[in-house]
């Protein structure tokens, strides 16, 4: 293997890294004047990476750098989503960044490098590559959370995220070293062949905890509400979509490839995590008045639903995870952009009451958000329903009836807060006047809502097929 082949096989990440570094140089030389240029470069690079990932999706298993890096259709599927979502969340946040006075040239670069980290950890085939990717994703994320650094809550969010993230990284690294110690290798392929031992098992548990933290699954979700509430909304839009998708996919990838032989050992733990996430997410959201906190809890619950697919095991669960997450992040992206559009005197608004009368003030946004909420809540015929159906089916096939029942109950409870939001938008009268919305944002909300219904509903079979073929490789 020579370098050229390696770079070809890892084309999306290689391209992102090179362009990202070049953009850093441009920014350093030109300064703030290059904001728009760098943002354009970053969006283009991310979009290009998504296209390259799509090519990987069609090429089966690709190895690079001595099998430290592997691209399978499964990870390629996740990467398409990751890069596309990163690009879109960058694209739509221009106006909000300006309003929040954080429109600096570092912002697109941080997003770009975070996405690169996501891609690396997805393609990891060794615990070291995994850790490298996780950290590459995490470090820009901490900075992004604190990006509005003169703002107390943003700074607090960044600090909390950093401290807890460091703790979780430590646990992950500790787990990696235990596994390495007991199997003699960091390579997934070797670990998968290793005999079960107490050291390996305990290391696996620590890795699970580290990854669950990244995916913000309960009870490792503790950072999520505070960070979502404190970080600037454009940043949360990114957090809640691209890295979320990547984290869940990595979680699945590690369990399915490195620890596939020990499924009976990790499956119950994942099931517990899934159940706790669904319950805590649904119940926690019930009493929130802040929309961002509400969506934070909602995302915890939704990760729980996706993890049903993980607990169900590779044969039946893998494609369900991909389908569920793909549909979920599209809906979430739309919802957060919806939040971005609601501003008064340049300040983003956040409580549920701020949405009162939105149907009158911004009918298009309100209608789009209603469709998105229905999808995220899993109400047919919106696409979210099919995602939920897929994971529930996977759970049933794996004889996890109790987990599916918890999921059904959590779904019912979750309607309590989802419909409260719809009620506020559609029924309650408004008493304030809102700023004009940016057309890009409105287009994104409407586009996302059209995507979850009817587009994805109609094409759900092709999505299911694509996810199924992605997991066969």
């Amino acid at each position: 293997m020579n370098l050229i082949t390696d770079l070809q096989n890892s084309a999306p990440e290689a391209a992102l890294a090179i362009i990202g570094l070049a953009a850093v140089l441009i920014g350093a030389i030109v300064g703030e004047g290059s904001r728009l240029l760098i943002r354009t470069i970053a969006v283009a690079a991310l979009a290009g990476a998504a296209v390259l990932a799509a090519q990987q999706y069609g090429s089966g298993r690709l190895e690079a750098f001595g099998a430290l890096y592997v691209a399978t259709p499964f990870v390629a599927f996740a990467k398409i989503g990751l890069y596309a979502l990163a690009a879109i969340s960058l694209l739509v946040s221009g106006k909000s960044l300006k309003e929040a006075a954080v429109d600096r040239y570092e912002y697109p670069l941080l997003i770009l490098f975070a996405a690169l980290g996501g891609g690396v950890m997805l393609s990891a085939n060794s615990l070291m590559t995994l850790y490298l990717g996780v950290e590459t994703l995490s470090l820009p994320s901490y900075v992004l959370a604190a990006f509005r650094r003169d703002h107390v809550r943003s700074a607090e969010a960044g600090l909390k995220y950093f401290v807890l993230g460091a703790l979780a990284s430590g646990l992950l690294l500790y787990g990696c070293s235990l596994v390495y110690g007991f199997t003699g290798s960091a390579s997934y392929d070797v670990i998968a062949e290793a005999d079960l031992s107490i050291g390996l098992t305990f290391g696996m548990v620590l890795i699970i905890i580290g990854l669950a933290f990244k995916a913000s699954a309960a009870p490792l979700h503790v950072w999520t509400p505070d960070v979502y509430a404190g970080a600037p909304t454009p940043v949360v839009t990114f957090f809640a979509t691209a890295p979320k998708l990547a984290a869940v996919a990595v979680f699945a990838n590690v369990m399915f490839s490195a620890f596939n032989g020990h499924e009976t050992d990790w499956s119950p733990i994942i099931a517990i995590i899934a159940a706790l996430s669904m319950i805590i997410g649904s119940l926690g959201a019930l009493t929130q008045s802040s929309l961002k906190r509400l969506l934070a809890y909602s995302s915890i619950a939704n990760v729980g639903f996706a993890l049903i697919g993980l607990a169900a095991g590779v044969e039946v669960g893998a494609s369900a995870i991909l389908v569920y997450m793909a549909i979920y992040v599209v809906g979430t992206l739309g919802l957060f952009v919806g939040l971005l559009t609601i501003r008064k005197d340049g300040e983003p608004l956040d409580t549920i009451d701020d949405l009162n009368g939105l149907a009158k003030a911004k009918p298009l946004v309100a209608f789009g958000m209603t469709v998105l909420i229905f999808s995220v809540a899993g109400i047919p015929p919106a696409a979210g329903f099919w995602g939920k159906l897929a994971v529930f089916q996977a759970g049933l096939e794996a004889d996890l009836l109790w987990l599916v029942l918890v999921g059904v109950v959590a779904s019912v409870i979750s309607l309590g807060y989802y419909l409260r939001v719809v009620w506020a938008m559609m029924v309650k009268p408004s008493d304030s006047t809102l700023d004009r919305s940016d057309w890009v944002e409105v287009a994104a909300v409407v586009g996302a809502s059209v995507a979850v219904f009817p587009v994805l509903t109609i094409t759900i079979q092709s999505l299911l097929d694509a996810a199924a073929s992605a997991t066969l490789g």
């Binding site: 548990v205 490792l220 009493t287």
Partner: protein, 703 residues
């Protein structure tokens, strides 16, 4: 020349299309557009129906003698449970189509002026057309299910129209009352249909291997397809006393011998079906016990009262009984029940009519009473006479209602007859029309003279019924006869009372109302005039066809009379005093009315004020509403309260959804409280998780 079938289809479906256009497109069309569309369409339908009817009466009777069916679409087809959307064309349906569309068309025209100032005219006309369509579906059904569809459709339209002025609480409660009371009857009807399906099943030995009915059995019945829901099949089975094997029976036996267990009783299946269907008819036709909704239904606009609650919908029960003549000819108990209920209603409603002061309520009770005549005629087997009275009654009762509407319209919406009087000078046309209607209703004519057939419409039809009742060999025939004659006297009394109180004597109206009282505009007068023509001539002209010489050819197989049933023939041989009795009755009634209301007008109010028991008994309508209120309404309310407050709110909601919601909310706030915001708490949670999960794995490895 378009075919007979095409004409029938246009008649039935044109009103549906008009209703849809006016109802859905009222914003586009506007009030005038909606009125124009519906009126034009229904008038067209009426003209076609008139052509169809007259061709049938005066042309050859072949078309009606052998009724045929135009199938439009299959509706249900599950084994032998087959029902189509169909238009059945036979004498019964042709007569009904004519009655329904002609009265409906006149009411449409009348309403253009009557509803002139109503802001929701478009809705009103859409409902009227919807009603017309549903009624036509009912009368042209070839099976019980489509009939039930029409039955419920007219119920719906009636509900919507009674409650048309929905801002009036009394109109709303009247609409609900009509709907609920009808539900009782409809439940009986539905049970009757179910009983038919239960009983009319081909015997096992007549089924081939695949469960299909054998050709031999079909041939025996003379039908192309076996469907217990179709009139054709069910009536053929009953007429031939064919072998059937009801659901749950192990062997086949003739249908007239089938007995069922119902409510713990072992009853003859045909009697049971007959009684259940008649309960349906009682509800729709406001017969004794289920009559209470009809007077209240007068809360609706007067044209509605004329169309639905006098001329057409309320006669649906009579139509049902006549349609099911094949059944009732083979029942004793059910037929007797019809006779008894009909006779009682006819007399009872007439007594109540004596003491009502609301002009529309008097006419409403009169309707109720006349429906009683029709029922007991059907009960004793004179279905033709029942249909004949239905036919003539439609004209003169619609005339009476619309005339009453003209009076109300011209007198500032006053309905209380005690505040009328002396209006003849102000409203000569309304007076003339009301007079014609009254003469027709009371049955004025020259009886007992051979070859001299002169009289108003009601004379021919009512006297035919009364004579038949006398001639009937039935056990309850004499009772029906005497109650019928008595009711004729009462009818005459309250009708002339209405005439005198409204149009004669000194006025009791407010002076300014009286001064402004005026006759209705010409557009309301035209329908009145046309109906008056019907009220005068409908009896004499169609007498021969409906109940005399040509009746057998005219009705064909639409109405079945058993071979031992000669009642229509036997009525020619009744003593002369029987022929004179109805005339004596109406003359007596007229004289009494003139004495009490014309000559001694101070006596009736004095009786009313003295509050004697008989007067209050009558004016309170035999206390039916009070009794029903006490037993059913309050009972149901108490029961409902129990289920609602204790059962639902406390037990089900309290233990189920509300408790779950409260628990969720409490846990939710607990979960958020756990979220302290302190970093070290979070770190602790993470580390505790590590310990817990580690313990789980190690424990599972050890065990």
């Amino acid at each position: 020349m378009i075919s007979q079938e095409a004409i029938a289809l246009i008649i039935v479906f044109a009103p549906a299309i008009a209703a849809a256009i006016a109802g859905l497109g009222q914003r586009v069309l506007g009030d005038r557009g909606a009125m124009a569309v519906t009126t034009a369409v229904v008038v067209t339908a009426a003209l076609l129906a008139a052509y169809q009817f007259l061709a049938h009466v005066f042309g050859d009777h072949e078309g009606g003698a052998h009724g045929h069916t135009v199938v439009i679409a299959n509706w249900l087809s599950v084994g032998n449970f087959i029902a189509d959307w169909a238009v059945r064309i036979d004498t019964l349906s042709v007569v009904m189509m004519f009655v329904v569309t002609s009265v409906s068309a006149l009411v449409h025209i009348y309403s253009i002026s009557y509803m002139e100032h109503d802001p929701h005219r478009a809705r009103f006309f859409a409902y009227l057309s919807l009603f017309t369509f549903a009624m036509l579906m009912l009368v042209t059904a070839d099976n019980f299910i489509q009939m039930f569809f029409g039955w419920e459709g007219v119920g719906l339209a009636s509900y919507l129209l009674i409650g048309f002025w929905y801002k009036k609480p009394s109109a709303n409660s009247a609409a609900i009352k009509a709907f609920v009371v009808n539900r009782v009857g409809d439940f009986g009807f539905a049970l009757g249909i179910m009983a038919i399906v239960l009983v009319v099943q081909a015997p096992a030995e007549m089924l081939d291997g695949a469960g299909a009915v054998s050709a031999a059995y079909l041939q025996q019945l003379g039908v192309a397809e076996f469907s217990s829901l179709r009139f054709e099949t069910a009536f053929a089975v009953i007429e031939q006393n064919a072998l059937v094997q009801p659901v749950g029976f192990s062997g086949a036996l003739p249908i007239q011998d089938v007995a069922l267990d119902f409510l713990g009783l072992h009853v003859d299946a045909l009697e049971l079906i007959g009684v259940l269907l008649f309960i349906g008819a009682m509800g729709k036709s406001a017969q004794f016990i289920l009559h209470t909704w009809l007077p209240d239904a007068m809360e609706g606009p007067t044209p509605v009262s004329a169309l639905i609650h006098a001329a057409t919908m309320v006669t649906a029960g009579v139509f049902l009984v006549c349609r099911a003549s094949y059944l009732y000819e083979h029942t004793v108990f059910a037929a007797n029940m019809i006779t008894i209920i009909g006779a009682i209603t006819c007399f009872f409603a007439a007594t109540v009519g004596l003491a009502q002061n609301d002009i529309k309520r008097v006419v409403a009770y009169s309707t109720c009473s006349q429906l009683g005549y029709m029922f007991f005629a059907a009960g004793i087997g004179a279905y033709q006479a029942a249909m004949f009275h239905l036919f003539t009654h439609a004209f003169f009762k619609a005339l009476l209602f619309l005339s009453a509407g003209a009076v109300i319209h011209g007198l500032h919406d006053e309905q209380d007859m005690r505040k009328m009087g002396g209006l003849r000078r102000k409203m000569p046309i309304a007076w003339a029309m009301m007079l014609i209607g009254t003469l027709a209703l009371t049955g004025v004519g020259i009886p007992a003279v051979e070859g001299l057939h002169i009289g108003f419409a009601g004379f021919f039809s009512k006297d035919a019924i009364i004579e038949s009742a006398y001639a009937s060999p039935d056990q309850f025939g004499p009772m029906a006869f005497w109650l019928g004659v008595g009711a004729a006297l009462l009818t005459s009394f309250y009708s002339w009372r209405l005439m005198i109180m409204t149009f004669h004597g000194p006025t009791r109206a407010k002076q300014e109302y009286y001064d402004h009282a005026h006759d209705a505009p010409w557009i309301m007068t035209i329908p009145l005039a046309l109906l008056a023509v019907g009220a005068v001539f409908a009896g004499g002209v169609f007498y021969d066809a409906f109940v005399e010489h040509y009746q057998a050819e005219f009705w064909g197989d639409a109405i079945y009379t058993a071979s031992e049933n000669h009642v229509l023939h036997d009525r020619h041989y009744v003593p002369t005093w029987v022929l004179i009795a109805p005339a004596a009755a109406w003359i007596t009634g007229l004289v009494l009315a003139i004495i009490f209301y014309g000559l001694l007008p101070r006596i009736p109010p004095a009786i009313g004020e003295s509050g004697g028991p008989l007067h209050s008994f009558l004016s309170r309508k035999w206390y039916f509403d009070e009794i029903y209120n006490f037993v059913f309404v309050r009972g149901a309310a108490l029961l409902g309260d129990l289920f609602w407050k204790v059962g639902d709110k406390t037990l089900i909601d309290g233990g189920g959804p509300n408790a779950a919601a409260a628990i969720s909310k409490a846990t939710g706030s607990g979960v958020s409280r756990l979220h302290t915001g302190y970093l070290f708490h979070y770190a602790l949670v993470i580390l505790l998780t590590v310990v817990a999960f580690g313990a789980v794995v190690i424990w599972s490895m050890v065990s």
